[in-house]
């Protein structure tokens, strides 16, 4: 793999850009690996990367049923933050944030991590209290957070309707200055390139259809549309498709439902919104991509779905919220909207664990917040697979916690996936 830099660009420009190497190799699957990761999304690729980089395990295959990065990593609104309240979440997402901060350099791939700040708006004193609780929790764990008043919010986000006549007047907000966005596709490609370069085989257009078991009943590989592939350990990181993949291993039920979340992008505009702004009361979050499109999203459609497309009520609601928050957006046009299938867990927090079967490892339950988790998720999952036990950072993200009553319920919504 050639090193990327401005010099490599100049050099290749002179030869008509005909000598670039593939970003990642495209090998045929070998019959056997040390580790197979099912799912070529952000988490699967990051896991492979860190297995190789941190644990020296390079005889690894990442198996992707479609094209790499075609899942949620390629369809999310790219918000990166670690502004969580519950300690298990805060420390995990903060580790992710730290990894984000050096990711482009680490990968030698510009993932355009832009720490432009993430601002959550508050509309009632009760919301301020709740944000204070969360922000203080962050600060006590060494994470940056600021509580802003209305004027500070107005200065930070010009164009935002902060008038008192608004239906839900803005009275302040919780800001995480280090939060921001990253270029979603680049994250997948960068990890793929990094992993491939370290020896990981990335196998696209290869769907797992079942699992192989050894005499002891341990998972010993996967059946795929490109034949059986053996491995001592199989990690599953298939986001919205978790239930289906595990079903083929005989795990019939999980504390997960698949729901559709939509995302939206406007026509490209000159810089207009410089921060990530979220309006929790109205279920809206908005930022502007470097290309100029306003990228925004709202609540999930609210019903189980594997369709990767949503319906009009959310489209209309999200537009209405966007225009209410920013009355100057009204004439701007929606360019495209799409959906992704999320693995909504029963408490809204993820699962990174050994099991539920011998030889199997599970990474799931990311709901609509797993993009920001990509580095830490891969890092922790790699650790868990390599050492057969969780790292302290993911020790709480077990599968047993639901039955035990040790849920990590940031929203307090209880076992109702559609409410997390």
């Amino acid at each position: 793999m050639g090193h990327y830099s401005v010099f490599s660009l100049v050099k290749n420009a002179m030869t008509g850009h005909r000598n670039w190497q593939r970003a990642w190799r495209s090998p045929d699957p070998k019959p056997k690996y040390d580790v197979i990761i099912v799912g070529g999304g952000g988490h699967g690729l990051a896991t492979a990367y860190y297995l190789a980089k941190e644990h020296g395990i390079t005889n690894v295959a990442v198996i992707e049923k479609g094209w790499l990065g075609g899942g949620n990593v390629g369809r999310n609104t790219t918000i990166v933050r670690s502004n969580y309240m519950l300690p298990a979440n805060t420390r995990f997402y903060e580790w992710s944030m730290k990894l984000w901060e050096g990711l482009s350099q680490d990968l030698n791939y510009n993932v355009m991590f832009s720490s432009r700040g993430v601002l959550n708006l508050a509309h009632t004193p009760a919301q301020i209290d709740a944000y204070a609780r969360r922000g203080n929790s962050m600060r006590l764990q060494g994470v940056d957070a600021e509580l802003l008043d209305r004027d500070q919010v107005a200065r930070m986000v010009p164009g935002l309707d902060v008038s008192e006549a608004a239906r839900f007047p803005v009275i302040g907000g919780l800001c995480q200055p280090r939060g921001g966005t990253a270029r979603h596709d680049a994250v997948a490609w960068g990890y793929a390139r990094g992993a491939s370069d370290r020896g990981v085989d990335i196998i696209e257009q290869c769907e797992t259809t079942g699992f192989l078991f050894d005499d002891q009943g341990r998972v010993s590989g996967v059946k795929t549309t490109r034949g059986d592939i053996r491995a001592a350990k199989v990690g599953v990181a298939v986001a919205g498709n978790t239930s289906n993949v595990l079903r083929t291993a005989g795990v019939e039920r999980l504390p997960i439902e698949s729901h559709v979340l939509q995302a939206f992008v406007s026509e490209p505009l000159k810089p207009l919104i410089d921060t990530v702004v979220t309006f929790g009361a109205g279920h809206l979050y908005i930022s502007q991509s470097d290309k100029g499109g306003l990228v925004f999203g709202g609540d999930i459609d609210g019903y189980n779905s594997y369709a990767q497309r949503g319906n009009l009520p959310i489209v209309e609601h999200v537009a209405a919220m966007a225009v209410a928050m920013f009355p100057n957006l009204s004439r701007l046009r929606l360019l495209r909207h799409w959906g992704g299938i999320m693995d909504m867990s029963m408490d809204g927090s993820p699962i990174i664990t050994t099991g539920p079967l011998e030889g199997l490892y599970l990474n799931a339950g990311w709901c609509y917040g797993g993009f920001k988790a990509t580095p830490a998720s891969g890092w922790c999952f790699a650790w868990t697979i390599a050492k057969d036990q969780p790292h302290a950072l993911n020790a709480d993200f077990t599968l047993e916690r639901f039955h035990q009553g040790r849920t990590i319920d940031e929203r307090g919504a209880g076992p109702q996936p559609r409410l997390h």
Partner: protein
């Protein structure tokens, strides 16, 4: 998406609130084994296809219904009322019902 309400006919999805998987069997009230309750509360098949689910017509007649819906294609099948009115009386059966699309 349009959802057939056995009472009101076909209505927009926005009038309904999702109530989750209707195949999970609720333990009897006197069941005391937490494992049984845990499975009921937390564990879902989450199939990628035919699904039987609860919806409430909160923006209409408030009925809880069971709906057959393919969660991959969003195709909607039959719906029926749940609860005391689930079995329509003779009289009701004769009257016009919205035929759910198959």
């Amino acid at each position: 998406m349009r959802i057939p309400c056995p009472t009101c006919g076909e209505r927009d999805v926005g009038e309904f609130t999702y109530g989750g998987d209707a195949t999970v069997a609720r333990p009897a009230m006197d069941e005391t084994d937490p494992a049984v309750w845990n499975r009921f509360v937390y564990d879902r098949e989450n199939p990628r296809g035919a699904h039987l689910e609860f919806w409430q017509h909160t923006g209409g007649c408030r009925a809880w219904i069971k709906l057959q819906r393919n969660v991959l294609t969003h195709e909607v099948g039959a719906s029926e009322l749940v609860g005391p009115w689930s079995k329509p009386s003779e009289k009701d059966a004769q009257t016009k019902r919205q035929e759910p699309v198959e």
